[in-house]
Amino acid sequence: MNWSWFLILLATYPWLLASDLISDAMADTGLVCFLSGAAIVAPARRFGRGQAALFALCVGFMFEARRPLADGWIAFPLAFAALAICGPQGLLRRPAAVWFAAIGLNVAATAVWLIIGGAGVLSLGTPVDYPSAIWRGAVQTLVAAGAAAIFAPFMLRAQESLMDRLGVPEAREA
């Protein structure tokens, strides 16, 4: 196994850090700028299954590391999603399809961490205002979709160009 997945991870990290800094600026609103879901799409469509899964696991662990979420419950769903993307690569050859996949996956991953976070809070026995939680969850999902829509094209382009330089083969036809 070569180390191109790790180099792409290092190149992707500034985007994840930027999303953390945006979350910091948005802390007053109680919203998180989440990009981890969108970050795995471009590498997953070009890497082999092993590298794609490792890359997605690392991206997931990085999000979980500083947050009160159950260990592995974002990382493993992202890894399964990466394996799923490795399959129908033909679908993800068009730039528009990649962009839509990034938005879709970012929204799905956001829904996962919202559910995992909610389960963690309920396990503490903390009172939860359900209407407010559902409303905030919906807004957070929209924010995740918006963040992916805005930042994904630039992030995907940066990842693609590095993969070209590293000689990672283009996605195969389905």
């Binding site: 990290y13 850090l17 953390d20 800094l21 979350s23 910091d24 948005m26 802390a27 007053d28 609103t29 109680g30 919203l31 998180v32 299954r49 092993g50 899964a53 690392c58 662990f61 990085m62 979980e64 590391a65 500083r66 947050r67 009160p68 260990d71 592995g72 493993f76 890894a79 399964f80 394996l83 490795c86 399959g87 919202l114 976070g117 909610g118 963690g120 809070v121 503490l124 903390t126 009172p127 939860v128 205002d129 407010s132 939680a133 905030r136 969850g137 957070q140």
Partner: protein
């Protein structure tokens, strides 16, 4: 089924097995992974925090010398007042120590103050946290109180090598006992963070039904103060203010009220961690449990 489909199936099975191993395997692996990924991100976060400090430094450098002289003069006046207070406090501390000796009371918990810059704030519906630029190497310990002046900000949730994560008082995991201003009997109530509202709120429960906040001018709400019970938070720190009038619980045996934090928790630049000098009762309990296992 072609080879590609077989390979895909095998990778799903393998990943499922890894996931099961991850879930049911030793927790030390999960802890190590979390710690490794936090430490991987720590230098970048530290750099971002220092960059922010640099911006602030250059902003302060651009102030005129008249402004600085005025600020220095104001600080001088405040210092003169504080020196008198210090003397007063010293006399009170000596008197307190004498009375404690007379009554055979144990000593008050002592704390070492570690001042830390806030690196980042992370606030979602399910958590409100800040990351500070002090960690294990600076002596920060888990569950240490985090304050700003005499106001409680939160409690250290996780400690890493050079950074720590702090659960704010509005975070759902936060709990502590409190006294309410205006309650002559100083009955103990429970404060906990709640998962509601975009900025997070805290709720005070177990409020006696006969309690009503002291009447005062609008905007002068009743204070909620720490009790010092449990040895985590020193007594008398300000947790927040009662927001609105306490409402009766559905069972009718107690009242509860929302709490407005004493400080805008998302605009903090610097906080102080109160690290207990001696092991807290919780730490002693954990140590004795570890000894039991040995």
């Amino acid at each position: 089924m072609n080879r590609d489909q077989q390979g895909a199936k095998a990778s799903y099975v393998l990943l499922t097995l890894v996931f099961l191993l991850w879930c049911f395997g030793p927790s030390v692996v999960r802890r190590f992974t979390r710690e490794a990924f936090t430490e991987f991100q720590a230098p970048a976060l530290e750099l971002a925090g220092k960059g922010r400090d640099l911006v602030r430094y250059w902003e302060l450098r651009s102030r005129s010398s008249e402004e600085l002289a005025e600020a220095g003069r104001d600080l001088g006046r405040i210092n003169a007042g504080l020196e008198l207070k210090l003397l007063e406090m010293k006399n009170l501390a000596e008197e307190n120590a004498r009375l404690r000796t007379l009554l055979s009371y144990g000593p008050d918990p002592e704390y070492r103050t570690v001042v830390a810059r806030v690196v980042s704030r992370d606030s979602a519906g399910w958590w409100q946290r800040i990351t500070i630029r002090k960690g294990r190497t600076d002596g920060v310990r888990p569950f240490s109180p985090v304050v700003f002046g005499t106001r409680v900000v939160g409690r250290v949730a996780q400690v890493h090598l050079t950074t720590s994560e702090v659960d704010l008082i509005t975070s759902p995991g936060f709990r502590c006992t409190a006294h309410l201003e205006g309650d002559e009997q100083r009955r103990v109530v429970l404060l906990s963070g709640t998962a509601t509202g975009s900025r997070g709120t805290a709720l005070v429960t177990n409020v006696p039904t006969d309690y009503s906040p002291p009447a005062g001018p609008v905007g002068d709400e009743a204070k909620v103060l720490t009790t010092g019970i449990g040895g985590v938070f020193p007594a008398g720190l300000l947790l927040g203010y009662i927001s609105g009038h306490p409402r009766t619980t559905p069972k009718g045996d107690f009242k509860e009220a929302d709490i407005a934090p004493a400080r805008d928790l998302h605009s903090l630049q610097e906080v102080a961690v109160l690290v207990p000098v001696y092991p807290t009762p919780g730490e002693q309990l954990t140590e004795s449990r570890v000894d039991d296992f040995r």
